[in-house]
């Protein structure tokens, strides 16, 4: 009697677990569909050739790569190059600056350290967009706007990037300070400590910083739009493609937008998936450290 009831309970446990897991599978499949549908749609529509405007169906009636071919007769290649150059330069310079800043704040104890960190915290509370007006006029005086927006944009992205030191400082904080001390006792200067001890140990955070710095310019819209100021030669992909979806252009360029979007998204996504591990480490570490 007691044996059967315990069996029943046992079966019940197993059954309820199976039920719960089934429900979760259903949920996960539903989520995956919801998350992927827009991207599947955009890919499908980029191959649609029977019309260039937005339609109420997904599967093209006539397939072709006309949209991709047409991209090359627009400013799209120029935008693409602009964005790529910006992204590469930003990734390089921003990484150097962020690492300098975060390593210093993690390792050195100088008088102005705390005030400096508080000051940057307060600075960060001002909406960055506010600086745009003046930065635009200054860059314009330097000749770095409109057609020459790319160097101007790099300058804007890189210059203030020292304020985004939190995540990598959190990482440096986890490297024991006694390693620095041991190296200094062993006869290393501070610069040698950084080069020979800390940097070789910081591969994950260096890759994370490069990756995020590289991805930033692909999606930035506000500054890029302000600084290119309507000149197609200076736009990045975000600004250029945005203009194709304004009411007066959408009927002409909707499918081409999709094709452009695919060309932008695919390399960035591949790179990201390839380096996913480092990104995940950085994000979780950053959130835990606040």
């Amino acid at each position: 009697m007691s044996e059967t009831s315990s069996m029943k309970r046992h079966m019940g446990l197993k059954a309820s677990r199976t039920l719960a897991n089934t429900l979760i599978y259903v949920l996960l499949i539903a989520l995956s569909v919801i998350w992927l549908i827009p991207f599947i749609c955009i890919v499908l529509q980029s191959f649609r050739v029977e019309s260039t405007w937005q339609v109420g169906y997904v599967i093209p009636q006539k397939w072709g790569i006309d949209n991709y071919r047409n991209l090359f007769s627009t400013n799209f290649p120029r935008w693409y190059i602009n964005t790529f150059v910006t992204a590469v330069c930003t990734a390089l310079l921003q990484t150097i600056i962020v690492l300098c800043m975060s390593y210093t704040l993690s390792r050195f104890r100088f008088k102005m350290r705390k005030p400096l960190m508080k000051f940057m915290l307060i600075l960060g509370m001002f909406p960055g967009m506010l600086s745009m007006i003046i930065l635009y006029r200054v860059l314009k005086d330097l000749g770095l706007t409109q057609a020459n927006a790319t160097p101007g944009l790099i300058l804007v992205y890189v210059a203030s990037s020292g304020m985004g030191y939190y995540v990598s400082k959190g990482f440096f904080d986890t490297i024991p300070k006694s390693l620095d001390e041991a190296a200094r006792v062993d006869g290393a200067t501070r610069a040698q400590v950084l080069n020979k001890i800390i940097l070789p140990l910081s591969k994950p955070i260096v890759i994370y910083t490069i990756l995020t710095a590289f991805m930033g310019p692909w999606g930035d819209f506000v500054f890029a739009r302000y600084i290119s100021f309507g000149d197609p030669a200076g736009m990045n992909v975000a600004v250029g493609l945005y203009n194709w979806l304004t009411p007066d252009q959408i009927n002409k360029n909707y499918t081409m937008f999709c094709a452009g979007g695919v060309l932008v998204a695919v390399p960035v996504t591949l790179l990201f998936l390839f380096l996913q591990k480092y990104y995940v480490e950085g994000v979780t570490g950053g959130a835990v450290k606040g």
Partner: protein, 511 residues
């Protein structure tokens, strides 16, 4: 609310415990402000006494210093040069020459123009040869303001360097008096890779921040006290001038001119939606992201990595593509409505972007779509760090899954991610991309728009700010005022959370 002792607190009923904590939270707010006031006062006092000390030291150095130090008061770097520290001395001297040259050539002019921001605006001049009136551009208010701020920066830097020059001369004098040797130029350079390595590392990042963040912010704060706008751009159309507190008075005034809504009402409307948006955007993502993470993490779920990768992939796709595309999907003639219509489930297109309520709900929903993968990642990382024995012991104590979630998972997550929640809240308040790319602020709010800009129902303060700074009648001064207010709101929220939260958090300390 009076503080209870631990034992008294434990005797309270569950409801009363919550009431007590809430009471303590709100009672703590004035104290937080008082503390802030005290801190600021303290910083000011310390600053004043530091300046006092410096001044005293400058004077005593002059009285007690030898003639080399005394000459340094006039000729920077002389003390170093005279004592053989050639490199330092030359740098000081060079700085002084550059500074004086700059002040004579242009700095003085900019400073003298600062109070007026320009005297002569553009004038029409008759050109006899071509017999036409030609516009002649004269003073440039924008440049005057910008360069006078720069000049003030430069003067501060000069005073600081002058002070350092005196201190070094005096120190060198003292070191020589004890019979020790001074550092050579080579050693100075070498120290930049060792004990002063932080100066080397910080030089570039800080210069960037000062020029590209601090300077613009100070400039824009100053703009809030001028009438800089499209029709007073300072050069081509008209000069702009100082107007004192007028812009703040305008924004805080409930009075409205013929039929338009007052600025204060418009601002209030946008602010309340901004806060509402930030709240929903933050917490919906937070809880749903945690939920998805837990679902994937659950024992017995296979191919965990695949599910995660599918979600994470969407982080990689640049937001402007996904947001713009999704925005069009939800449009009146978009795929979604087209699909629903063709299936016959609806007879009329759903007003996703046309109806205020629909639009607000839709942006929050799409933001969940955007935000869940990110939160899922964070939550996964933290969930895996929760010690398994906590759950084992809870299960032995008889906790069911829901109790395990509310008693272990949730408090742990909240404790660890408290600061993240705060930054994510303030980040959402300024989440320009999502709103601007999805709706551009639409649908239009006619009443609010009558005040300024094309205010829509989904406009945040930050998109409103963007709208007033673009277009023909850009009201830069208004944008500055709004920007300052955004800062104030963000700072207030951060202050309250940072100062009051720890007292509540400590009790569930997991560390």
């Amino acid at each position: 609310m009076a503080q209870l002792s631990d034992l008294e607190y434990l005797k309270l009923s569950k409801g009363r415990k919550i009431g007590y904590k809430l009471g303590r939270f709100f009672a703590g707010i004035p104290k937080a402000f008082a503390n802030l006031g005290l801190k600021i006062w303290d910083v000011l006092k310390k600053g004043a006494s530091a300046v006092g000390r410096e001044v005293k030291d400058i004077i005593t150095s002059f009285i007690q210093g030898d003639w080399k130090t005394k000459v340094s008061y006039l000729v920077m770097g002389f003390g170093c040069l005279a004592r053989g520290q050639i490199l330092r001395g030359l740098l000081f001297l060079l700085f002084e020459i550059v500074f004086i040259g700059y002040m004579v050539l242009s700095g003085g002019y900019w400073l003298s123009m600062m109070p007026s921001l320009g005297k002569v605006g553009p004038t029409e001049e008759y050109n006899e040869i071509y017999d036409v009136f030609v516009t002649k551009y004269n003073d440039n208010s924008f440049q005057i303001l910008l360069y006078s701020v720069l000049t003030i920066f430069f003067i501060i830097a000069f005073i600081y360097t002058w002070r350092v020059n005196i201190r070094q001369s005096r120190m060198a004098e003292k070191i020589l008096a004890t019979g020790k040797r001074l550092k050579s130029g080579k050693e100075d350079l070498h120290s930049l890779t060792d004990e002063s390595f932080h100066k080397t590392l910080l030089a570039l990042p800080l210069t960037g921040i000062i020029i590209f963040t601090v300077l613009p912010i100070i400039f824009m704060i100053l703009v809030a006290f001028t009438n800089y706008d499209g029709s007073h751009d300072g050069y081509i159309s008209n000069l702009f001038h100082w107007v004192g507190m007028d812009n703040f008075n305008t924004l805080f005034s409930w009075k409205s001119a013929n039929g338009t809504q007052s600025y204060a009402a418009t601002f209030g409307e946008i602010l309340s939606w901004t806060l509402m948006w930030a709240f929903f955007a933050t917490f919906s993502n937070y809880f749903l992201g945690m939920f998805v993470a837990m679902a994937i993490n659950k024992k017995g779920i296979k191919v965990k990595k695949l599910w995660r990768t599918i979600l994470v992939m969407t982080i990689a796709i640049p937001q402007f593509i996904s947001l713009l595309y999704v925005s069009k999907m939800f449009a009146k003639d978009g795929i979604l409505n087209g699909f629903l219509l063709s299936m016959g489930w609806i007879t009329k297109a759903l007003p996703f972007w046309e109806d205020p309520i629909w639009a607000r709900v839709t942006v929050i929903m799409i933001n969940i779509w955007i935000g869940i993968p990110y939160l899922m990642l964070i939550a996964t990382g933290i969930l895996m760090n929760i010690p398994a024995d906590l759950y084992e012991s809870a299960r032995i104590d008889g906790a069911n899954p829901w109790q395990q979630y509310t008693r272990i998972t949730l408090p742990y997550m909240l404790f660890i991610t408290g600061p993240y929640l705060l930054t994510s809240f303030t980040g959402n308040m300024n989440n320009f991309n999502v709103i601007y790319l999805l709706t551009g602020g639409a649908p239009l709010n006619p009443a609010a728009s009558s005040a300024a800009g094309n205010v829509g129902y989904t406009d945040l303060l930050i998109t409103w700010l963007f709208k007033i700074t673009t277009g023909a009648d850009s009201k830069y001064y208004l944008a500055s005022v709004v920007g300052i207010l955004v800062f104030v709101v963000v700072a207030l929220i951060s202050l309250i959370v940072y100062n009051v939260l720890p007292s509540i958090k400590n009790e569930e300390d997991f560390q």
